[in-house]
């Protein structure tokens, strides 16, 4: 370790949607690495420790080293030549970069979608249909005395969710912290989150909707088909006991994860959670919050919404935004073979998407922006190496409860930020399109 050490207080971890902004970082400025991240969980520690400066080319074109400028030119040419260029990813970059991506999509009449579509996209659909009884994590920390996690495993995906926001912290109206809260976990398997719960309810896979609907019926004092116990794997007595707790708590919260959105029922499951929370407001105060995954996936929803009016799956091919999940969402556009070029920003669909979608990515020109090599950068025709948000660059990130947080970077990177690369691509796309769309490209308008 060198003597050139810097400390950064109140830095932010952007690895998961908890976006913890209480990190105290020790930075070796000569080695350009973070040697200590006080307050970080295991995932956060790995995030800070592993994002160093690797000796890699600024860009690759067809696998060969290139400059950022050459790659910008190649990327712009690909996007302008395509009939249905798509932009996807955006959950691990700043709002400032996300904004540039929307602008490029608007210019080129393409399609823009974020990792939300394969995360809480179904919840986004449900919000529009059912509405959302919501709160910030700060409010939950200070008030919630009943905390229910449904279809999620925060102990492994969001390790500090329990300790910083919702289970153990002492709050204004829950002065004894953990002792003042009753915690319930509903899942198909006993995960490492189960020991945190006072009550673990093991549900049969694919029957969340039935259980949620039965709970709604109990809340309203209706009769429930006794066969539901067999179907869901949860006894009617357990359901009634849970409903009693939900109606008698002072402040309840339902956190729901991808165990609901990625399984049979999808947006109906999320809608059922939101409707249950709404129903409970006749008796007490109850909120429902999706537990969001990547560091700035919530920012992606916000930016795409304020720029286009819709949260994800937005198509500009008619020159104005249209929203239709299932049609303008990326898995569909790829699996159906419709997209003819793709720009992937801070995401790795070549590793995580269904096989038919990955197969199509191999057939079309792909542009990738990422801090590290991935399956997506490997199949990309143009791959940019970019700096890491929150570690090398500042900007804005939204925590999972829609609270915006400004990042405090630790050390500089030689690589450009996503925002810088996207601004350069936008400018070049605009120039090329101006030439393509007019017979008088040099005409000056006063």
């Amino acid at each position: 370790m060198s003597d050139n050490i810097r400390t950064v207080e109140h830095a932010t971890c952007t690895f998961c949607g908890c976006v913890c902004d209480d990190m105290d970082l020790t930075v070796d400025m000569d080695a350009k690495r973070i040697t200590k991240a006080k307050n970080a969980c295991t995932l956060g520690r790995a995030w800070f420790a592993e994002h160093t400066i690797e000796d890699r080319p600024f860009a690759l074109i067809d696998g060969k080293a290139a400059t950022t400028e050459e790659a910008v030119e190649a990327a712009a040419q690909i996007l302008v030549a395509a009939r249905l260029p798509i932009i996807y990813g955006l959950s691990d970059t700043t709002c400032e970069a996300q904004r540039q991506a929307v602008a490029i999509c608007d210019l080129m009449h393409g399609n823009i979608d974020t990792t939300t579509s394969v995360c809480h996209g179904p919840s986004g659909i449900a919000f529009q249909g059912v509405g959302e009884s919501t709160a910030t994590l700060g409010e939950i920390k200070n008030r919630a005395d009943l905390v229910i996690y449904w279809g999620g495993n925060p102990a492994e995906s969001h390790p500090r969710h329990f300790t910083r926001y919702a289970v153990t912290p002492k709050g204004r109206y829950v002065p004894n912290g953990r002792k003042d809260r009753y915690v319930v976990l509903v899942d198909v398997r006993r995960t490492p989150s189960a020991p945190v719960a006072d009550l673990f309810i093991q549900i049969k896979p694919g029957h969340d909707f039935e259980l949620l609907w039965a709970l709604r019926a109990f809340v309203k004092g209706r009769k429930v088909d006794p066969n539901l116990a067999e179907r869901t794997g949860v006894s009617l007595a357990t359901m009634e006991d849970l409903v009693k707790r939900m109606k008698s708590c002072r402040y309840g919260v339902l956190f729901f994860g991808m165990g609901l959105t990625m399984t049979r029922g999808r947006h109906f499951n999320s809608g059922a959670v939101l409707a249950l929370a709404t129903d409970l407001n006749e008796f007490t105060h109850f909120v429902a919050k999706p537990v969001r995954g990547h560091g700035n996936v919530t920012g992606a929803d916000n930016v795409v919404s304020w720029q286009t009016g819709y949260p994800f799956g937005v198509n500009f091919s008619r020159g104005y935004p249209r929203f239709n999940p299932g049609e303008y969402t990326t898995v569909d556009l790829l699996a159906r073979g419709e997209a003819d070029a793709a720009m992937i920003i801070a995401s790795d669909p070549a590793s995580n998407f269904p096989r038919p979608a990955i197969e199509h990515m191999k057939r079309i020109p792909v542009i990738a922006l990422d801090t590290k090599p991935t399956d997506t950068t490997q199949l990309a025709k143009v791959a940019f190496t970019t700096s890491t948000y929150g570690i090398n660059t500042s900007g804005t990130v939204y925590r999972m409860d829609d609270v915006p947080i400004t990042l405090r970077p630790a050390f500089e990177s030689p690589y450009p930020s996503d925002e810088e690369v996207l601004i350069a691509i936008k400018n070049r796309v605009r120039e090329l399109l101006t030439k393509k769309r007019t017979r008088f490209p040099n005409l000056k308008v006063a």
């Binding site: 592993e50 979608d113 995906s157 398997r189 096989r355 038919p356 090599p373 991935t374 399956d375």
Partner: protein, 118 residues
Amino acid sequence: MAEMMILVPGRTNKQGTSLNAGKLKKEYRDVTSTVEMNTDDMARLGIKEGDAVRLATVIGETVVRCKGRKPTDLPAGMLFIPYGPPSSQLMDGDTAASGMPLSKNFEVSVELVEGPVP
């Protein structure tokens, strides 16, 4: 003989730490190539800890390493795998007009295969 089971891909701590190191690195590849199975099911199917098993759907197939979990943690007939390239091979691209592919709780066939995990 292949048997049908329910596959649950999900996140784990190890997957999270290894992806920070690099998704093309061995540790991440190993983590995402290990499926967990109830130990009673393993005994019944003659599968030992570390054996290679083939998971298959109509979309594709993958050969992964099998690891036992207590029946109290993982119910009979259910498999858990950390998300990654192997689980993607099994997922259908049809999203039922939702944008979301069925990514959890889908049926896969499971069978023991001879030899090591590729």
